[in-house]
């Protein structure tokens, strides 16, 4: 059975054919057992669907229901069209970030290439001793037990 015949048979079951086409299909069904069986199957399926198709009842009137849907659609469209407020400081952040990056890079390079010459004055453990006399050597140590820092200058007097 070709596709055109199948479609014509379906249209016959649905009463969509002209009287002339319907007579032609009836004649065909009288001579073709396979077409008859298929037609019977299609009718049973249609009857089954018609009997068991689920129905949905709106809780309110149809107009009210659709007006609600329309209102929601228009609201979401308006929200999509509204421009988003700019993030605070975004424009200056765009300017400041490259400068900050360059400054950080310069400081990093300076600290790597040039050590600090001046000592940090508040560094607690900073300790600097200079012995100008050539003949004097010195030993420095801190005694925790005695609570004193000792600078021993060995001048070779003994």
């Amino acid at each position: 059975m070709n596709n055109d015949n199948l479609l014509k048979l379906q249209a016959f079951v649905d009463d969509e054919l002209t009287p002339a086409e319907a007579k032609q299909v009836k004649d065909w069904l009288a001579t073709d057992a396979e077409a008859r069986a298929l037609c019977q199957n299609l009718r049973e399926t249609k009857a089954l669907l018609a009997a068991n198709e689920p129905t949905f009842k709106l809780p309110e009137t149809r107009e009210l229901y659709w007006s609600k849907i329309l209102r929601e659609i228009s609201r979401s469209d308006a929200a999509a069209e509204r421009p988003t407020p700019p993030v605070l400081g975004r424009w200056w952040l765009r300017l400041a970030l490259p400068f900050a990056g360059v400054a950080l890079l310069i400081v990093l390079l300076m600290s790597l290439t040039k050590p600090l010459r001046t000592p940090i004055p508040l560094a607690g453990n900073f300790h600097e001793i200079e012995t100008p006399l050539e003949e004097a050597s010195a030993i420095t140590f801190h005694s925790q037990a005695a609570g004193m820092t000792v600078v021993w200058i060995d001048s070779g007097a003994h």
Binding site: P119, F126, A145, A146, T149, V151
Partner: protein
Amino acid sequence: MRTISVFVPLFLGLILPFEMIAAEPKVGERQFEAQLIWGTDKEKPGDPELKPVEPELVERLQKVFKWKYYYQVKREVITVPTKGAGKVTLSKKCEVEVRDLGKPMTEVKLFGEKKLVKRITQAVTQCLVMAGDDRNDTAWFVVLTPK
């Protein structure tokens, strides 16, 4: 008699408190006590001007050094103004200069016979002892203590 009765209360009431206030460190000033100490194993040194060192300091020195006895040659208070320096003479040969480098950092200079022997830059929060050996197995100590 009348003169004495006027001047004694005047001295006690005005001049003495003024002198006491003047001896106190002013705001921002720092004071250090510098002592020149001689360390020996001899119990009775010949020099009668030598004074005994405070027992607490002797105990601390004995923890570090080998000498049994310690005698004070001279004791001076160094007043150091903010960002300034103070200098004292502890003997004919020995002088100490303390310079404020911003609390608590201090620069200490030790001079021997007017020549700079030692320059120490550090935070003097505890006792700083500059010491050296001397003849006859004795030693000298310059003890600098913040007041």
